[in-house]
Symmetry: C2
Subunit: 118 residues, 2 copies
Amino acid sequence: MARAATTTDAFNAVAEPRRRQILALLARDGERSVNDVARSLRVRQPQASKHLRVLRKVGLVRVRSAGQQRLYQINAEGLKPIHDWVSAFERHWNESLDRLDTYLKELQKKEQHDGREH
Amino acid sequence: MARAATTTDAFNAVAEPRRRQILALLARDGERSVNDVARSLRVRQPQASKHLRVLRKVGLVRVRSAGQQRLYQINAEGLKPIHDWVSAFERHWNESLDRLDTYLKELQKKEQHDGREH
DNA sequence: TTGACATATTCCTATATCAGAATATAATAA
DNA sequence: TTATTATATTCTGATATAGGAATATGTCAA
């Protein structure tokens, strides 16, 4: 078996940095045409088009035709599965930061202690 | 150019469902040996080992040797880049849900109206 | 119809998976 | 040492990219 298709789900689609850039752009600037996206991110039009297709297939963007343009907008709800999954670990990195904090404070105390001993 | 390596970053590593399962397992059960992971997720030992290697390379797990075992624990801080990135879109999906809510309420009002007219 | 512009698709190549099977390495016990 | 258990690595094959280049499709205007 090979790697899962990029169009499998949001996780796979968003693993590609360019597609994350596209989503960030659409979030910031709202609805944009393919050429707008291509120009803003300095990629060629077919590349933009292909990335947008992947994003559309996994439901992360919506399209609408306006004359000869195709206007893409973000569908941020598609990111919720990722947010939900990763949020479940929030507690864990807070805890490990707590532990690190505790450790650093202990270390500092110890060094002050050693300092006094010299 | 081909797809970026799974070991490029947390985004790519976590695109694989089995690796997400492994992280969830380690988050729930704490430090586990390779065989523990393999048995819990019903995968063969080499597969577990290989997935853990990817997770280790991107800093999502830490290892420690204990006798002939290798104990893996989650390093949840590695997930923060994903959390940070996706959280930036939280506002957007809330807004679109608001718009959907508004739309549904308008629709309901309209239907009640139509009902009275009949 | 023809031309111009916007977008999508196809073909190509290099690369990297993922699971399975087999095997290698490592640590411990008898 | 030899056997056993735990883990890691290598090899194979099917599959799927991502970007570049070329081209097809679509829409509108004159």
